[in-house]
Structure formats: structure tokens, C-alpha cells
Point group: C2
Chain length 201, copies 2
DNA sequence: ACTATACGGAACTCGCCAGTTCTGGAACTC
DNA sequence: GAGTTCCAGAACTGGCGAGTTCCGTATAGT
């Protein structure tokens, strides 16, 4: 975002427009994808003029990067997930927490084809979208290891990427909804048995 | 593809141009993505004129659909994978077979953002790209079940989607290569332990 | 009051690309 | 050889969207 110094007097920027534009951009991005997203539509949906948008962001690319940098990040960390005493319980607690995560993944849909052409966008996606979500699962797995729940020889690196992969695949490729049953199976039929070797309870 | 009837005489179509154009389209698609793919570049790379392209396909969308329909399909089926006597062995045999599968997944990169806007494209992707690959793993899992290798209560539906999900995620989102070590871990650290409950050998 | 900058909105430039048409020539049928 | 359809290549058309500029107006400092 451009942070111009205001020389003398003049009307100050309306700070509320920033958030409105980012929110509009996020919405358009999620439903149209990067290429089909137009600055005109973002401005119109934010109730702003295009000039107001370009006063804050130098280009469409920078605005989109800021959408992810500002609102794409996952608020939840390992410490927000209560320690229930078992990996299975922790994963259930996590599912109860992140109910509104889907829209960031949806915004990613249209960005996927841009990633190979924009190193900066790829970096932001990795830092703010992919990284935190993988790290969250990894944190829960390490918590399970401290409890002694983990089987010896479990590939934590790979296993912590399984949920993100399957969620992304579902939303990006097959376009099925993230229903609770799917998320439950993901935890209890995949992650828990692989980590602890306990297929049923 | 347009299959016009040739009325009377005239120079016959050069059938070799069809394959050249499809191959060029596939290549451009994989490295540029749908929106950045131009008919001019496809024609140039195929050493053809744009008129020659439009004589065979009515639009860019139809050409792209045909790229997947003609060359995106997986040639391998369950019957091509030798029965080695164990799931672990079958998966190793499968890895030896599909060495050149990566380019179809790469072509999918740029198509992902188009899927929500083109039902026909989504149908072709599901039928020719996603379906066969999931079915292949499912077939190997069912072979393992017939052998009595499978643990009771394994979620075959979900498990058969794990490899496709993780491969797609790697190529679409994180852009890491499909190195043999990753594919081996996918089989031996994820699929085999989950299916058979045998983490190590 | 004066000045400088903000605002929404609309008109504008400019380049890109899908799709069409033309050219000079080649290949095939009758 | 007359007529037709093909070929590669290049010129052309039309629409769309990024980014700019201008309008009339609003809101601040001095």
C-alpha cells in the first residue's frame, strides 16, 4: 500500500476506504479469479472511484498482494487450540475454531495460475496462506509427540501437509464443499491413524 | 474438433497439423496458463497460421478442451500395474510406470481458475484428468483388499484421493518438483501405513 | 477566504488479444 | 487446366480492461 506523505493542508484520506476496497477486492477475487477481476468492479463494489483505488495501490498486482497480506493470514495459532489431551481431541477442537477459513482458500483459486509468473505473490501466498496452515497442523503433531502419542518414524513433514493439500484440492480442483463430514474424516481417518497408529477408538 | 465434410475436390487437410497444434497448445498452456495463452503463440509454435487453427477449432475454449480430452488422459489403468503381491510393491511398480505424467498436471495449473466458469471444461478435467488418477489408486487399494492386506474400516474413498491431492498441491500451489523421494514417501509413509497399518518393514 | 488534497464518477488513451480476412502459392478432383 | 480447398503468414477489426485525467464537490489546515 502506498504511504504518501501529506505535504501541507488539504482533505485527509478517508481511512475507511482502504478497508472497503480491500474487502471488495477479496470478494471479487474469490468469485472471479485474478484475470477476470477488474479494477472497475472492485471500485464499484467498494462504492469508490477508480482514482481512489489507484491513489492507494499502484497496480492491480499490488492490490491483490495486499489482499492476501492483510486479510489472508490465518488468525489461529497452535496456542489458540486447547490442549485436550489427545491428538484426536485437539483436531476436533481445531475444526470447531476455523469456521470461516474457506474464503481465503477460494481467493487462492484464481491466484494459482498467477503464482508461476509473480515471485512476490508466490512469496506472500507461501508466507501468509500456506505456511501458517501447515505450521498449525505441525504444531499439533509436535504436541502429540511430547505426549508420547506419536508412532516412531512418522514423517511429520509430509503428514503436516496432508490436510492443506486435501482441502486445497477439494476447493480448487473438484469444487466440492468443505462439509463437516469431510473435515472429520480427514482428521480421524487420515491424520490420527497415521500419526498414532490408532485406526478406531 | 470440427469435422467438416469435404464437399468436392480441393486440397485435403494435412492431418499432421492437428497433432502439432494440440501439442503446441498443451505446451503453451502448461507454461503460460489459460488466460495468458494466445492463439497467436500456439499457431507460431506449431508452425501454423492462425487460420489453420480456426479451421479446426471454433474458439480458444474448444481447443483447450480438446487438449485435455485428447492428450490429458492417463494411459495407465490398474491392469497395467503388475501384481507384485503387496500394496507396497504395486505402488513402487506404478511409480516406475508413470514417469511423464507431470505435464498434464502442469497444464491443469492455468486451467484451475477457469473451472468455475466453464462447466464443460470442469467435466472434461474430472473425466480425463482427475477421475482416472483417483480410480487407479482405488484399483490398487481394492487389489490389496482382495489379498486381505487392508485393515478393516479403512476409508478407501478418501484415501484414494490423497496421492492426487498431494501431487496437485505440490505442482499447483508450492511449485516443488515431483522428485522420486517425494513420491516414495507419499506411498510408503502415507498410503501403505494407512491402508495396511504396517508403518515399517 | 484561500489552498491543497480528498472524494465519486465519467471520459479518455493505449495495448493486447480473439477472431476474420487477404495474399501468394500448393495440392487434390474432375 | 479449371475449380476448390488447403497452407503459412500478415494485415485487419472490435472489444475489453489497466491505468490516467478531468469534473464538480467535500473537507481539512492556515
Amino acid at each position: 500500500m502506498l504511504e504518501e506523505r501529506q505535504r501541507k493542508g488539504g482533505r485527509p484520506r478517508d481511512a475507511t476506504r482502504d478497508a472497503d476496497i480491500l474487502e471488495a477486492a477479496r470478494a471479487v477475487l474469490a468469485e472471479r479469479g485474478y484475470e477476470r477481476t477488474t479494477m472497475a468492479e472492485i471500485a464499484a463494489r467498494a462504492g469508490a472511484g477508480k482514482a481512489t483505488v489507484y491513489r492507494r495501490w499502484a497496480s492491480k498486482a499490488e492490490l491483490v498482494i495486499d489482499v492476501l497480506a492483510c486479510s489472508g493470514s490465518l488468525a489461529i495459532t497452535v496456542d489458540d487450540v486447547p490442549d485436550t489431551g489427545s491428538l484426536r481431541g485437539d483436531l476436533a477442537a481445531l475444526r470447531a475454531l476455523k469456521s470461516r477459513d474457506e474464503s481465503t482458500w477460494r481467493a487462492l483459486v484464481g491466484l494459482v495460475s498467477e503464482l508461476p509468473h509473480s515471485p512476490e505473490l508466490a512469496r506472500v501466498v507461501d508466507q501468509r496462506v500456506v505456511g501458517p496452515r501447515v505450521a498449525l497442523i505441525r504444531g499439533l503433531l509436535e504436541r502429540a509427540r511430547d505426549r508420547g502419542e506419536l508412532l516412531p518414524g512418522v514423517n511429520v513433514d509430509l503428514l503436516s501437509r496432508v490436510p492443506s493439500s486435501m482441502i486445497a484440492y477439494r476447493l480448487l480442483v473438484t469444487h466440492e464443499p468443505l462439509d463437516p463430514e469431510f473435515l472429520r474424516s480427514l482428521s480421524e481417518d487420515i491424520v490420527v491413524p497415521l500419526a498414532t497408529g490408532r485406526p478406531r477408538d
